[in-house]
Amino acid sequence: MSHQIGDWHQSHRSPSGILNERSQASAMGGAAISAGPAAEAEARRPPELTVPVAETRNGQKSVIWAIGGGKGGTGKTFVSATLGQQLSRHGSPVNLVDADLGAPNLHTFLGVPEPATDLSDFFFGKQLPLQSVLVDGGGAGLRFAAGSNRHFNLSNLEHFRRLKFLRHIKSLPGQVIIDIGAGAALNAIDFFKLSDVPILVANANPASIENLFLFLEAVALRIIEHEIQLHSLQEAMRECWHAAGKPPKSVPSLLEMVRQVDLAVERKIRQALNDFQPCLIVNKARGDNDVLLGRCLEDVAKRCLGTRMHYVGAIPFDHRVADCLNQFCPFVPAHPTSETAVSIMLIMDKLLERSRSLEGSR
């Protein structure tokens, strides 16, 4: 089961923690932080979030799907927009959030070029709550929070703004789909890690696969860092690192180092890495080899990174997707009988099944 904010809140009763950028450096035993005692204290606190477990008005908990993948242009925004549209067509209210703050495109894929309110009104200006910033996405029950091009600093958010964003997303009711941007910045990793169903979108080329594994490694390191902070093993890790002479070059070697320091924590980390089970979609697939690549990536992730990925399907390439984008119309209603559309429906069914099984085990 993926990490839930609620779990941390219940099991570790610490004061309202702050997600800290510097905690990564301190976990790695990097250079001493020279910003003063307050920052030192901040750095030592574990990167926790105390966010209330979300409850909707119906009494059902919200389900968050996050769609990421590392490489840009793989089709994350297309997949989030299309899944949101299809889910809303099937009856459930869907809230889409464009968390790609530096390069937002969700409104373009949904065919709403100028939304009335966007995330600028949430972060700056009127500072409306996220619920008020949601605009109609062109379907029954589909609402979305659009990114903004009015403020250029959105990709370099301060801590407190990022935390506020996470809190508000967690409090959105019903089905929530987050479109995470490209890259492995902290924004992307934290949203990905905190979702209920993390989804990765990859293409069948070495560039995309390279970035996919980089992204997964970054998420794994974030999980490890959290556990190290939680058990205050930073000093011990630093000593182990100096004793070894060279820094660990991969996740398995880092785990070996943690095992030398504390076996119980290493077991917990392995359990946490095992519980983090993202789903994989191979987009723009041409031919059987690309469809097979998904199964191959499952095995490589399990054998080399210790992460259990679930391959939910491949979406065939269709040149008409780009044509629909150019005309600002959604693809599936325009071409419902194409293999692309039908594959997306099949993937949506598998993802819904996965959400239901996760909800059942909560």
Binding site: A204, N205, P206, I209, E210, F213, D288, N289, V291, L292, L293, G294, R295, C296, L297, D299, V300, K302, R303, C304, L305, Y311, G313, A314, P336, T337, E339, V342, S343, M345, L346
Partner: protein, 214 residues
């Protein structure tokens, strides 16, 4: 080339192939083929994660595990992997023309010319086997022709009866096409004709669907 492989315990072998100990011989075969495809030289799956030496080490381990399961008779012997003998009455497959393999007349008479224009290489049988293996490995993750036809027909709100009236094909044959039960269809060229007729009646292009037909 026979590899001298260390005696691997059966439990380890199942772990290396990532299958349960109750796996059938077909599942073991499939797991082996998938791993060979994953860690092959031309596969991108392990790009930047494994160095060449590490990748080859994984392949060696997989081969050792597979061979140990075969030696313990967990997998059917090679003779059982041949396709079943064709039933009585079905037409025999066409033989490849001899000319495709033998050198042409003037290549025998004028060997110097043969050096200028080398003989056509026979088609690589390995390529077809790999294609078949890939289709088998991906069958749960791609749309088969029948599934796609059924999905499109349902989306358009058509019944098999209405399609049958439009295409003059029996409902039982249409159902067999959708389910992929190709044995119940008439043999020969009629199968492909039926599939293209069904596809055209739904405004789909039959080429990609015909590829799926055995």
């Amino acid at each position: 080339m026979t590899l001298k492989l260390a005696a691997k315990s059966t439990q380890d072998a199942f772990e290396v192939l990532d299958i349960s100990p109750e796996a059938s011989p077909e599942e073991i075969q499939e797991a082996y083929l998938l791993l060979v495809a994953t860690y092959a030289e031309n596969s991108f799956a392990s790009y930047t994660i494994l160095s060449k030496e590490q990748r080859i080490a994984v392949l060696r381990e997989v081969e050792a595990a597979y061979q140990s399961l075969r030696s313990r008779k967990r997998i059917a012997p090679r003779s059982a992997m041949k396709p079943a003998a064709p039933a009585e009455g079905t037409p025999r497959p066409a033989k490849t023309p001899a000319r495709a393999i033998k050198p042409r007349f003037w290549e025998r008479v004028y060997p110097a010319l043969a050096r200028l224009w080398p003989a056509r290489a026979p088609s690589d049988p390995g390529r077809n086997n790999k294609r078949q293996a890939n289709r088998q490995l991906t069958r749960n993750y791609r749309l088969t022709a029948g599934q796609h036809l059924k999905n499109v027909r349902t989306l358009k709100g058509l019944t098999l009866q209405s399609v049958s009236e439009a295409t003059n094909i029996r409902v039982s044959y249409l159902r067999a096409l959708e389910e992929g039960l190709y044995d119940e269809l008439p043999t020969g060229v009629y199968r492909r004709l039926m599939l293209s007729a069904y596809a055209k009646s739904l405004n789909l292009s039959p080429e990609s669907l015909l590829k799926d037909m055995p």
